[in-house]
């Protein structure tokens, strides 16, 4: 750069470092600006940041076992779970006392449900035991080891006690392990049995399909954005309306319309069969699988790709292309060497937008995705609404969030985030 790079800091008129004076002069301006956006910040904090923090917390929180069965947890401390032998009478007695209290307080089902995520069957075991335990006299009715095993042979199973011990700490990595198809056992984390491994596949599929959707949006959107930016005003306005039209239609209507279009007895298959391109017996399967999701989501997310690209292209004066041609470049060279590089910020903005929207999309894959075309978000919704395993849902959501942040960071490293422009 310039030769006058001085190591001494610049001083302002009163002898203070120039940087300090400048910072002071700008401070008031900054405070005023901050006050203006304070309501928004407060809203975002309450409605967005706090829920995210609570979700992050939920994914590791696990105090239910420790608070509901405190004596059992204490007694299990001395039991070595790796020997394969059942614990001794004190542990059984402590459990009997805990479960009786829990049953009276009617909170035994909750802990049963929690442990059921880890080992199926525990919920019913707890229910049955609690019903009997309510009538016991803790002083007289011992010893409880045989009594409990009498009620349910689950109490003679070492695994039950192992599960109890493993999940007795206040915080757990269990949900995160579950989220990547592993589970906690007495001998450390292990992969789930083959038939229960679905989440990693789902993560992978979500990533790949989001990339595919982003790619097809880019391919379809770039020429449209170019036309929008370069057509005469009258035609460009019409085209813009066509681009925005999907926004004015309900998401559900649009997605359902794709069902009509793509299904085996649908419009596209009928046309292909009538044209003789496809045999009637071999109608294409384009819905309830990956194809359906990609087609419908490309359509739905296309405007989010087109608009940022358009607003960037609009700022590229046509004189650049003319200059390139006058310098001897063919149309193709002029495009790739001069126009395209200047439109990259728009591509970056559109791609990030579409990718991030796609990776968390829920409704469309739910409707047109079938079983093969669903995303991780559908699984999250399942755990929140059906299985009520919020901890796992939170862990899945956290992983998704971190994945997006990592990708964003990688993009920043590779392309530079200042190269993303939504306009101007």
């Amino acid at each position: 750069m310039s030769a006058s790079t001085n190591t001494e800091p610049m001083l302002s008129a009163d002898g203070k470092p120039l940087k300090q004076s400048l910072a002071r002069a700008l401070r008031r301006q900054k405070i005023r600006a901050l006050l203006l956006i304070a309501p928004l910040l407060a809203f975002i904090f309450i409605a967005f940041i706090l829920p995210i923090i609570s979700m992050l917390f939920r994914s590791v929180e696990n105090d239910i076992v420790a608070t509901t069965l405190p004596q059992t947890v204490a007694a299990l401390q001395t039991w070595d779970s790796s020997t394969g032998e059942l614990p001794d009478e004190p542990v059984y007695a402590a459990f009997a006392s805990d479960i009786q209290k829990a049953a009276k307080a009617k909170i035994h089902t909750k802990v049963g449900l929690r442990l059921n995520y880890e080992q199926s069957g525990i919920a019913s075991l707890f229910k049955k035991t609690a019903r009997k335990a309510k009538k016991w006299d803790m002083e007289a009715d011992g010893p409880f080891k045989e009594k409990l095993i009498d009620i349910h042979k689950g109490w003679s199973n070492v695994e039950t006690w192992q599960t109890l011990k493993v999940h007795s700490s206040n915080y757990t990595s269990g949900y995160f392990l579950n989220a990547i198809d592993m589970h906690k056992t007495a001998s450390g984390p292990e992969f789930q049995p083959e038939n229960k491994q679905i989440l990693l596949t789902l993560f992978g599929r979500t990533l790949i399909m989001s990339l595919a959707i982003m790619g097809s949006c880019l391919l379809l959107g770039y020429p449209v954005a170019w036309l929008l930016a370069n057509l005469p005003m009258r035609h460009a306005n019409l085209l813009m309306i066509l681009v925005l039209l999907p926004f004015w239609t309900s998401l559900l209507v649009r997605t359902s319309a794709w069902k009509v279009m793509l299904q085996q007895q649908g419009v596209i298959n009928d046309v292909l069969v009538n044209l003789g391109l496809v045999a009637d017996s071999a109608r294409l399967v384009m819905i309830n699988n990956e194809t359906g999701t990609i087609v419908a989501m490309t359509h739905i997310l296309l405007p989010f790709m087109i608009l940022p690209m358009y607003s960037v292209m609009q700022t590229i004066p046509p004189s650049y292309l003319r200059a390139a041609k006058s310098l001897g470049a063919t149309n193709t060279t002029a495009f790739w060497r001069v126009y395209f590089p200047q439109s990259v910020p728009g591509i970056g903005a559109g791609s990030i937008l579409v990718f991030i929207l796609a990776i968390g999309y829920y409704i469309t894959p739910e409707i047109v995705g079938g079983t093969k075309g669903v995303f991780i978000s559908n699984r999250i919704a399942y755990h929140i609404l059906r299985s009520l395993n919020w901890g796992l849902a939170a862990a899945l959501g956290t992983i998704l969030l971190v994945a997006v942040l990592i990708l964003y960071w990688a993009y920043d490293k590779m392309v530079g985030i200042d190269n993303v422009k939504l306009g101007g």
Binding site: A323, L327, G328, T330, N331, Q342
Partner: protein, 366 residues
């Protein structure tokens, strides 16, 4: 008609017309011939079709009718990138994502020139515009004048014989503009290139050009050397457009001995040089430059055309005096006189006599 002159003209417009919308002609019947090495300026008011002509020459617009020839060959069907014409755009159009050196080497790269040749030429071009140290910068890191020079260097680096410039100095301040005017003409003459230069600054046109084409309403109103254009305007548009001018309207009484006697609307009869009046009865607008009028008795020539005048305003401008007079009913008659020791200084309300040589007063179209 075009064929027999094609041999010596380097650039030739032959009855070129252009319409954008199919309803109005933006360029009407343009005929122009430029010899090799000429610096020609297109001067005219906004919307007169200057840029359109340049774009047709560069190949970005097609002529609706007529031929454009380059070195005797019609270029109507040659795409812009094969014409080999350098161009400097009004907003410079330096590629913002490339450094200065990359900008300059772009035209060489697309011509598939080797790397060492390219570097050599880029360096020479940068030195030519005295910007040798700036090769690594981006266009946004340069001042307007520096960008302008780079744009010039880029248009010249692939050694085109013809360079087009569309108001290249429009965005610069006055001082820088004057400096660049000199640099551009100097460079053009040194390299022997042919230049078509567009401006609507008449001083720029007069000082830089070998010839000036004054455009109005899609036509060339006059094509002449700067001094001719100023001293011998061929019609009242050119007379009004170039420099300051006093005009008075009247009717030709008679033409004899190379002089036209014109009766002004105020009743006075004056002698003028007939330019585009041909017979008694023609309506005319006579035009005379403010600096060709004298009011100092000692300086008025014996053969001068004399008229009575009343002083309305006397402005001291340092090097000159600018006096506004009422002459033959015209309140806007301006006289400029040099600030000499013996020059009179007038006061408003004074009655004086003014005079000018009949050949300085031109009877033009009404």
């Amino acid at each position: 008609m075009a064929k027999d002159t094609a041999g010596d003209a380097f650039v030739q417009f032959d009855r070129v017309q252009k319409s954008y919308d199919g309803e109005t002609l933006v360029v009407k019947d343009l005929n122009l011939e430029m010899p090799r090495g000429e610096f020609l300026t297109m001067l005219g008011p906004s919307g007169s079709g200057k840029t359109t002509c340049l774009m047709m020459l560069a190949g970005f617009e097609t002529a609706t009718h007529g031929d454009i020839l380059l070195d005797g060959v019609s270029i109507n069907n040659i795409p812009p990138h094969k014409r080999g014409i350098g161009m400097v755009f009004q907003n410079y159009a330096l590629f913002p994502h490339m450094t200065i050196a990359e900008n300059l080497s772009f035209p060489l790269e697309v011509r598939k020139m080797g790397k060492s040749d390219r570097e050599e030429k880029v360096k020479r071009a940068l030195d030519m515009v005295e910007m040798g140290a700036f090769g690594g910068r981006r266009p946004a890191q340069l001042s307007g004048g520096q960008q302008q020079r780079i744009a010039l260097a880029r248009a010249l680096v692939f050694e085109p014989e013809l360079v087009l410039m569309d108001e290249p100095l429009g965005a610069l301040d006055k001082q820088l503009r004057e400096k660049m005017q000199f640099e551009i003409t100097d460079l053009a003459h040194r390299l022997g290139i042919t230049v078509v230069y567009v401006t609507h600054d008449q001083t720029e046109a007069l000082t830089m050009s070998d010839r000036v084409a004054v455009f109005d309403d899609g036509r060339i109103q006059q094509l002449a050397k700067p001094d001719q254009l100023y001293e011998e305007p061929e019609n009242s548009f050119v007379a009004q457009f170039i420099g300051e001018n006093n005009t008075m309207e009247g009717i030709v009484k008679e033409i004899k001995d190379g002089l036209a006697m014109v009766e002004l609307d105020g009743g006075e009869v004056i002698a003028c040089k007939p330019v585009n009046v041909s017979k008694p009865g023609d309506r005319t607008r006579v035009s005379i430059r403010p600096e060709r009028v004298e009011y100092n008795k000692d300086r008025i020539h014996d053969n001068a055309q004399k008229l009575k005048a009343e002083v309305l305003e006397f402005i001291y401008m340092g090097d000159i005096f600018r006096t506004r007079l009422r002459v033959a009913g015209n309140d806007e008659f301006i006289v400029k006189t040099r600030n000499a020791p013996d020059q009179m200084r007038l006061k408003p309300g004074e009655q004086i006599e003014i005079g000018w040589l009949p050949e300085d007063c031109r009877a033009l179209d009404a």
